[in-house]
């Protein structure tokens, strides 16, 4: 067990625990802040996997932009934290049971599949090499994604515009 595997298991534990806390909070602000912790852990895991550019983008976009957008929405509208009622347990118990069964089956399949025992080697994709690969092989997808973001911007503006006589 090298120091990298210890780091991996530590990060995995932090990610799972903070996500588990986040999805069970009643207070939405607490949930979002715990999820920011989880995304920081994911960013460090990307760095461990040799993707420094993706790690930086994860911090900037996921933790910095998307989660702050959630915080804006939560603080813009009044959310009563105690208003939410969870579903009764007999409604979501089947989901939990089936999820557990899926998890066990998936773990068995993954651990018995050929090639899953291959140990990951340390490697680093330099941002320059990553960017060159991206723009040489996938320039069309970049254009499509930028169009998608533009359409999302227009759609969000259209949905969010204020009609006369409304106050939020």
């Amino acid at each position: 067990m090298t120091v990298y595997s210890i780091i991996f298991y530590l990060l995995a534990a932090i990610i799972l625990v903070s996500t588990g806390i986040a999805i069970t909070r009643r207070n939405l602000v607490h949930a979002v802040v715990y999820l920011v912790f989880s995304f920081f852990g994911s960013a460090m895991m990307f760095y461990l996997f040799g993707a420094p550019l993706l790690a930086v983008l994860e911090v900037i976009i996921y933790a910095g932009a998307i989660m702050i957008l959630f915080l804006f929405i939560i603080m813009m509208v009044k959310v009563e934290a105690s208003e939410e009622r969870l579903f009764p347990i007999r409604q979501w118990l089947p989901i939990a049971l089936m999820g557990g069964v899926y998890l066990i089956i998936g773990a068995v399949i993954v651990s018995s599949a050929p090639g899953s025992q291959v140990t990951l080697e340390i490697a680093l994709a330099k941002p320059k090499a990553f960017g060159e690969y991206l723009f040489q092989r996938h320039w069309l997808v970049i254009e499509i994604v930028s169009l998608l973001l533009l359409i999302a911007l227009i759609g969000a503006l259209f949905l969010g515009r204020k009609k006369p006589g409304e106050d939020i």
């Binding site: 998307i66 998890l103 990951l120």
Partner: protein
């Protein structure tokens, strides 16, 4: 030498199940969108692990596109949530029964 590749997949699977659980059980539109975010994050962890496993950049490229799609999805989703909140004054999905 980090860890076997299977452990990365199991971590991504547990995270994905947590996202499904959050989206299926919570009765709050914002928590449902958060669950979708957790699922997308789990998928990108699996992609980056696979990129390291095969020493190929394709997985990292896909994780970048997942990031962009998540940003677009969350902006439109939150705008829809605000719109629905204006119509009904609540975040509870059970209150959106205007068609009844």
């Amino acid at each position: 030498m980090i860890v076997p590749f299977g452990h990365v997949l199991i971590l991504a699977g547990i995270l994905f199940l947590m996202g499904i659980f959050c989206a299926a059980v919570r009765r709050n539109l914002i928590m449902i969108v958060l669950g979708v975010e957790i699922m997308l994050n789990a998928a990108s962890i699996a992609f980056v692990g696979a990129a390291l496993r095969w020493q190929h950049l394709e997985g990292q490229v896909f994780a970048l596109f997942i990031l962009a799609v998540a940003a677009a999805e969350v902006s439109v989703g939150l705008a829809l949530i605000v719109y629905a909140y204006r119509r009904t004054g609540s975040f509870d999905p059970a209150r959106f029964n205007l068609l009844k």
